[in-house]
């Protein structure tokens, strides 16, 4: 009797009564990770008070997952099945945050998201108002944007820089809203570059793009790309990541100059934040900060433009 009834009672009492009593001030939340087809996050919605010290105890039940909270900079790395991964943080910012799996785990991997809501206990009834994503409406995000002009060979920013020192370019306006194809055309029509070949003009475009960002910024984007995008778009941007195999429409191949040169930074930014309508591209607006999104866009351009000659 002791073994058959007493022992299980003791075990459950220890786990569900004694252990929680030792947590003190810390708000402990058990979070279970399952592949989306098996249910995704459990729970999918977590509410804590502003100022709470929150300890998440995350367990995977099937395959390796990841855990990160968008906009809070929390990324705990791999969630190994059957092991308990713990992360502790202070919820000092009111708002809604998206926690998500960032290790490809399932054909519906990108649906593995949950919401962490931090409410102000002083004003619990204040409705949370999400910031509107500005400016997407007037952008034509979903139309195909094949470039009219695109480079035959990878343009080099260093070569473009050398050329730029020798010639005078007319003002081109805000580059973020323009595609490389359009900028190429605008430069090509200027008299000062009449003696340059198309390739050299492309080098100039590459230089302009590289001058608009910094290596650190690109490195930030590269790390985010590797963690969040490579599973579908491929480690080298070729659109050949394993995640893409599950999709009807192949993920964009960033190494395809004709496609890349036709879009603007603003378009890519909007696509990342809003997601691709009718494609497998998820929305990232609730996960990446605006700065992070721009850094990814800057990194994407390195698939088209090279800083220096490689190999």
């Amino acid at each position: 009797m002791i073994i058959v009834i007493g022992f299980p009672t003791g075990v459950f009492a220890y786990q569900y009564v004694y252990l929680p009593s030792t947590h003190g001030e810390v708000k402990v939340i058990d979070l279970v990770a399952r592949a989306p087809e098996a249910g995704g996050w459990d729970p999918e919605y977590i509410t804590v008070d502003k100022g709470d010290t929150v300890r998440l105890q995350i367990t995977g039940h099937d395959v390796v997952h990841g855990f990160a909270i968008g906009e809070l900079g929390i990324d705990v790395g791999s969630i190994i099945p059957g092991e308990v991964t713990t992360v502790e943080f202070v919820a000092d910012e009111v708002g809604r945050f998206t926690y998500y799996c960032n290790v490809w785990c399932d054909p519906y991997h990108y649906r593995m998201r949950g919401t962490l809501e931090v409410v102000d206990p002083a004003a619990p009834d204040d409705p949370f108002v999400a910031e509107e994503e500005p400016g997407f409406a007037e952008l034509d995000i979903d139309s195909p944007h094949e470039a009219e002009f695109y480079p035959a060979n990878p343009p080099l920013a260093v070569r473009g820089q050398a050329l730029a020192d020798q010639i005078e370019l007319l003002a081109l306006g805000d580059l973020r809203g323009q595609s490389p194809s359009a900028v190429f055309q605008a430069i090509r029509e200027q008299d000062s570059v009449a003696s340059l070949s198309d390739g050299e003009v492309w080098d100039l475009v590459a230089y302009l793009w590289s001058a608009a960002t910094t290596p650190e910024w690109v490195a930030t984007g590269e790390a985010l790309y590797a963690k969040n995008c490579a599973a579908c778009h491929g480690e080298t941007g070729g659109g050949d990541g394993p995640g893409g195999r599950y999709m009807e429409e192949r993920p964009t191949d960033f190494t395809d100059a004709r496609t890349m040169a036709g879009g603007s930074s603003e378009i890519y930014y909007a696509k990342i934040r809003r997601g691709g309508m009718g494609t497998g591209m998820p929305y990232w607006g609730t996960i990446f900060t605006e700065e992070e999104t721009w850094s990814i866009v800057d990194y994407l351009w390195t698939f088209l433009f090279k800083e220096v000659e490689t190999e």
Binding site: Q15, H61, V64, I80, P242
Partner: protein, 630 residues
């Protein structure tokens, strides 16, 4: 006579010499020119592509691991190199294949139910260990048969009577041991310990993490218990596990209305008699097949293991409330069936000392019970006990016998296999099913064939039905059919007429018992060294809830002594093969003796009849060697 001895000695030396040659001779195999292999190793649940990689010794192997569905790792046995790839992030391995043989590469990160069976094979040629193993097995088979041909024994083994004669060491003469066995608490104490583990296994199975490798139930039932049962308990102590098995304990204690009671009043049970028609091992055979068909799920999903264990214990309780004694153990327990069969090999037995004493003693306390203890729970009449098969070593008869006429003995391995009484088609099939399952498991779970695993893991009902149907057909028709063919050939070659083919089939099946047991031991070697280390982490965190009872929770998965496994397997298999051939020969001799003719005049007929059986055994051995080493 002396000359015969010398002949035998010369023969043994000759074959031993050949065996040494097979072990150390430089084989005329040499690696071709060394080269480099650039390979993409694609990992998906639960297979690698390519599933088999063949290289030559000294080649450089550069592997690019690409997981395409979920995160996988790859670990190569023997080379101890590992890489992990998340989908979208390739990983690289670079090593020189300097050691020859077959090395399994396996997924090193839990990736779903069949993760432990996600296995590929690296074959580094020349595969010298395999060819040496094959040569040794061939020598062992041929040598045994030729040896028997050269010096056939003219005397058949006497069919051992109930009073085991011959080489026996009575263990119960040791006073301390005898006192222990007579102690009422002996069995209950063992049972309480295992019952504790059992309850924990059910709880962890039902409420713990669904990840098998981190769950006490999977690790301790299917890795630790299974390996200990197969490698130690059954071969050395027969049914000793049944002494301590927790499953019948609650039912038995209810029946007896107490744990330590010497003698129950009226048992808490309807105490019905088990129908005679069902006095057979067939129910256990079907139970075994049912468990093995669903083993891909049972072995890997903790909740299913928990449910199966619960079903077992509930069945045991219900059956003991309806029927008398331990009907569950005797007729239902699927494990009990083959443990009983294989216990006949073990050198431990419980027998009466002097049958005459029993014949002259009418009270039969050992079966009916007395003030000192309960009548045999296993429905065995001790004075008729000739084989271990149905004796659960509960030691009640030791306690009840007023004449001190029961002993526990050590004896030569395999003695019961020659006992003709009690043989039956049910046991013959049990032997065949166990042999077949050892081979099928090795191919399905430990082989490199992903399609087989997909099939075994089939989600659809039709896929599962097809798998189950094929599994059953191989077990019940194909392998028994082959064995029937071998038996028929044997009958023809030996010229035995007075024994029917069916009876020959039954009799010869007992020769499969040592072989089957050695295969299961070899099978168990292949996982206990690889996955045994999980036990350390789950003992600290049995539920996978993040406990750390003994500080070993984070002990990583560490395969140990893997290089030894193939050698242990070869030795075990060859020992089983030789033992089985010997048993087959002795069984054949009994047929000659039954023939009641002057077999002594032509003892070689028995050896002729042995050849097809020996060939069947050798083929099974080669199949096993091929799966593990080839």
């Amino acid at each position: 006579m002396k000359e015969a001895m010398v002949n035998k000695l010369i023969f043994v030396i000759l074959f031993a010499g050949l065996a040494v040659v097979a072990l150390i001779a430089p084989l005329p195999l040499h690696a071709d020119q060394q080269s480099e292999h650039y390979l993409t190793l694609e990992a998906r649940s639960f297979a690698f592509e390519p599933a088999v990689i063949q290289v030559n010794q000294g080649d450089r192997v550069i592997l690019e691991l690409e997981s395409v569905d979920v995160t996988h790792g790859v670990y190569i046995d023997g080379y101890e190199v590992e890489a992990v790839s998340e989908p979208g992030h390739k990983a690289h391995l670079d090593f020189v294949a300097d050691r020859v043989g077959k090395f399994k590469y396996r997924c090193s990160l839990a990736c779903g139910p069949l993760h432990p069976f996600m296995i590929g094979e690296l074959i580094v040629r020349p595969n010298i260990p395999y060819w040496r193993g094959v040569a040794l097995a061939l020598l062992a088979a041929v040598g045994s048969v030729v040896y028997l041909w050269k010096s056939p024994s003219r005397q058949a083994v006497a069919n051992p009577g109930p009073q085991a004669a011959g080489r026996r060491i009575e263990l119960t003469r040791i006073p301390l041991l005898k006192r222990l066995l007579l102690w009422r608490g002996f069995q209950p104490v063992l049972m309480l310990v295992t019952l504790f583990g059992f309850v924990l296994a059910v709880m962890t199975g039902l409420f713990g993490t669904p990840v098998g490798s981190k769950n006490f139930s999977i690790i301790f039932v299917w890795i630790v218990w299974w390996a200990v049962l197969k490698i130690v308990l059954v071969p050395l102590t027969g049914r000793l596990w049944c002494t301590m098995c927790p499953i019948p304990a609650p039912g038995e204690w209810l029946q007896r209305r107490g744990i330590l009671v010497k003698r129950g009043g009226k048992p808490l049970s309807l105490a019905k008699k088990w129908p005679r028609k069902l006095d057979d091992v067939w129910l256990q055979n079907f139970g075994l097949l049912a468990v093995t068909i669903f083993s891909p799920i049972i072995l890997t999903v903790p909740s299913v293991t928990g449910i199966v264990l619960l079903i077992f214990i509930v069945m045991a309780v219900v059956l003991s409330l309806v029927f008398e004694r331990r009907v569950f153990c005797r007729y239902f327990c699927p494990v009990g069936g083959f443990v009983g069969l294989y216990s006949m090999v073990s050198p431990l037995e419980l027998r009466v000392k002097d049958v005459e004493v029993c014949h002259n003693h009418r009270e039969k306390e050992c079966y009916l019970g007395s003030a000192e203890g309960h009548g045999c729970p296993w429905l065995v009449k001790p004075w008729r006990l000739q084989r271990n098969a149905h004796c659960g070593l509960c030691t009640e008869c030791l306690k009840t016998c007023p004449k001190d006429n029961v002993a526990v003995n050590l004896r030569p391995f395999g003695s019961d296999l020659f006992v003709e009484r009690g043989r039956g088609l049910g046991e013959a099939y049990n032997a065949l099913i166990m042999l077949t399952c050892a081979l099928l498991y090795s191919a399905i779970f430990l082989g490199p064939w992903g399609w087989l695993k997909d099939w075994a893991d089939a989600a659809s009902i039709s896929g599962r039905a097809l798998y189950a149907g094929t599994f059953l057909a191989v077990n019940l028709l194909a392998v028994p059919g082959l064995f029937l063919l071998a038996t028929a050939l044997s009958k023809g070659l030996s010229g035995v007429r007075s024994v029917s083919l069916k009876q020959l089939f039954i009799n010869h099946s007992y020769a499969l018992v040592p072989m089957g047991l050695s295969m299961w031991i070899a099978f168990s070697f292949s996982f206990i060294f690889v996955n045994g280390s999980y036990a350390l982490s789950v003992i600290s965190d049995p539920f996978g809830w993040g406990w750390d009872l003994f500080g070993t929770r984070s002990f990583p998965w560490t395969p140990v002594l893997i290089e030894l496994v193939p050698y242990l397997q070869v030795v075990t298999l060859i020992a089983g093969l030789v033992f089985s051939i010997y048993v087959a020969y002795r069984i054949g001799q009994q047929h000659g003796a039954d023939e009641n003719q002057a077999t002594c005049g032509e003892p070689r007929r028995t050896v002729r009849g042995l050849i097809p059986i020996a060939a069947f055994l050798a083929v099974a051995t080669f199949a096993f060697l091929r799966l593990y080493l080839g």
